[in-house]
């Protein structure tokens, strides 16, 4: 074999590997959800006991007059000793009726609801929380602190289900299952509802099994006083991912973070692409910052915590680098298309067989994890990767059936010839990454005032998953050019049923 032939062989095999790496994120997700199956055996329930610490609830609020009254009312109704619960609303310089509403509630529930005003607001959630933390920690009444969002609605039994884990002194923080609860919901909230099954009810259970938590939900994080004091009594203000920093620092300090999947908290999430984009761009940029700040942590197993485990590192980076995997896979396929078409086609089919099996397992299992949400969001679960990707999955799983259907359609259009077939295949190779661009068009159309039907269509065709990947990809750019860290508040309208 000549040197040229060896180089060609190595080159082609490298391209094949790069293509198949595109299946790594979904394969890692399968591993993650398989761990959920072990949660009934490996959980924190052996350590729980009835525990009712004096709990301060800290609510950052900026222009929340549409939702804050209902949230406070629901908190008052929590099945928790009234004398052990105080609600502190940090009004972050609101310009609407938020102060009036909270002051009225403070009058209605004296000694239980407190209004804390921050005159110079707008610096972000972490600053708002720190204002409240300073005041709450200055009094030794508080034994546990629940940080939540102004719009979320707690199930009556949720707080006590969280506090029972604090019976174990090694637990620093507990989080709950944030469920999308908009009524009536739109197509976007249904996508988010399904996403939250995967990312919270599913992924966080697997993180319990693994013993490493990626992030305490911003709308439901219960901390022991000891944990807050060990964290310096302050929330990190140097990033857009204060929740993740708090979570990681808690575990680095040797205290556990526990997910309580049976404590249900309903939240209102964005019902339009632009709102979702702003929210997720903030989260994604935060993840870039976390990945860099904790660079010495990843893939370095040690005896003190599990954040450095190989599994946790794979989970973190397959999500964080998902757009990179997609682009590499697509580009490699395109190169192979020109240098060795049969090999490219075989590799493409292998990629999608793996993706199809992963997709079927993840979707069917996640829908079974939360059947209540599944009833209203199953269609969005099926179309999550986008209509065209679902067609490719169907073709991959049942090539004869869908191959015959595709061939029949081309016959009908009288364009069933090798050039057209090869063009379609080329399109499918490009699609592996281009789906992100199509999903992004949905955001672009909506931002430019085009009919919402059009932007919705782009998300259904391109996929909600690829839309999130597009956000992640955009976040790399924002962080690379050091864009200003602005806090774009997600607008809430009070659509969550109490």
């Amino acid at each position: 074999m000549s040197a040229l032939e060896i180089a060609e062989l190595v080159g082609k095999n490298t391209l094949v590997v790069l293509v198949l790496l595109g299946a790594l994120p979904l394969t890692a997700a399968v591993y993650q959800y398989l761990l959920v199956g072990f949660h009934s055996r490996r959980n924190h329930y052996d350590e729980v006991a009835p525990t009712f610490p004096n709990t301060a609830i800290l609510i950052p609020a900026w222009n929340e007059d549409a939702v804050i009254a209902a949230s406070i009312d629901r908190l008052i109704q929590l099945e928790y000793p009234a004398d052990r619960l105080r609600i502190y609303v940090v009004d972050d310089g609101s310009t609407d009726r938020t102060p009036d509403v909270v002051l009225a509630k403070a009058e209605e529930f004296p000694g239980r609801v407190f209004h804390l005003r921050r005159e110079n607001g707008g610096q972000g959630k972490a600053h708002t929380l720190n204002h409240g933390l300073e005041i709450i920690l200055s009094d030794d009444w508080m034994e546990a602190l629940l940080i939540m969002d102004a719009d979320v609605i707690y199930a009556r039994d949720s707080l006590r289900k969280m506090t029972r884990h604090l019976a174990d002194p090694t637990v620093g923080a507990v989080t709950a299952y944030i469920m999308e609860g908009s009524e009536p919901g739109g197509y976007m909230t249904r996508f988010i509802a399904y996403e939250y099954i995967t990312a919270q009810a599913g992924a966080r259970r697997s993180q319990n099994v693994l013993g490493a938590m990626a992030c305490l939900a911003g709308g439901a994080q219960l901390h022991s006083r000891e944990n807050l004091e060990a964290l310096g009594g302050r929330i990190d203000t140097s990033s857009l991912a204060e929740d993740t920093f708090t979570t990681i620092n808690t575990q680095l300090g040797g205290r556990k973070c526990v997910f309580e999947g049976n404590a249900i908290v309903k939240a209102e999430e964005p019902d339009a692409i632009v709102g979702l984009w702003k929210q997720r761009l903030r989260w994604a940029r935060g993840n870039v910052q976390v990945s860099i700040r904790y660079k010495s942590l990843w893939f370095r197993p040690n005896g003190e915590h599990r954040l450095g485990s190989i599994s946790f590192g794979i989970f973190w980076f397959t999500i964080f680098l998902l757009p990179v995997f997609m682009i590499l896979s697509s580009v490699s396929l395109i190169v192979l298309f020109f240098v060795d078409f049969p090999l490219s086609w075989e590799t493409f089919k292998k990629l999608w067989i793996i993706n199809a099996i992963s997709f079927i397992f993840i979707t069917s299992y996640c829908l079974m994890i939360d059947t209540e949400t599944a009833k209203r969001a199953w269609k969005e679960a099926v179309i999550f990767p986008g209509a065209i990707s679902v067609l490719i999955i169907l073709y991959t799983v049942f090539p004869r059936l869908f191959g015959a259907a595709a061939s029949g359609a081309l016959d009908l259009l009288n364009i069933n010839n090798p050039v057209v077939v090869k063009s379609i295949i080329f399109f499918a190779y490009v699609w592996v990454a281009a789906c992100m661009g199509v999903a992004y068009l949905g955001k672009f159309f909506e931002a430019h005032g085009l009919p919402r039907l059009l932007s919705r269509l782009m998300v259904y065709i391109g996929g909600y998953g690829p839309l999130l990947c597009a956000v992640t990809f955009a976040s790399y750019g924002y962080e690379l050019r050091g864009a200003e860290m602005t806090w774009d508040k997600t607008v809430k309208t009070g659509k969550v049923a109490a």
């Binding site: 959800y33 398989l34 959920v36 199956g37 072990f38 949660h39 009934s40 055996r41 959980n43 329930y45 729980v48 009835p50 009712f52 109704q77 099945e79 928790y80 000793p81 009234a82 039994d157 006590r160 289900k161 029972r164 259970r205 999947g261 049976n262 099996i357 079927i360 397992f361 069917s364 299992y365 079974m368 994890i369 799983v397 049942f398 004869r400 059936l401």
Partner: protein, 51 residues
Amino acid sequence: MSAFSIDDYVRSEFQPELDADLAVERKLSRRCLYAIAVVVAVIIARSLWFV
């Protein structure tokens, strides 16, 4: 709404509530097997289609 009583809760609610939550977790474990079964069924269906 009656006031929440810790004694009543500890005596009559805590353990049943915990048992119910553990039952949920066991159900999720079984459902993981169902999801695996779905995948196996799809793989078998695909193989049969080729026969």
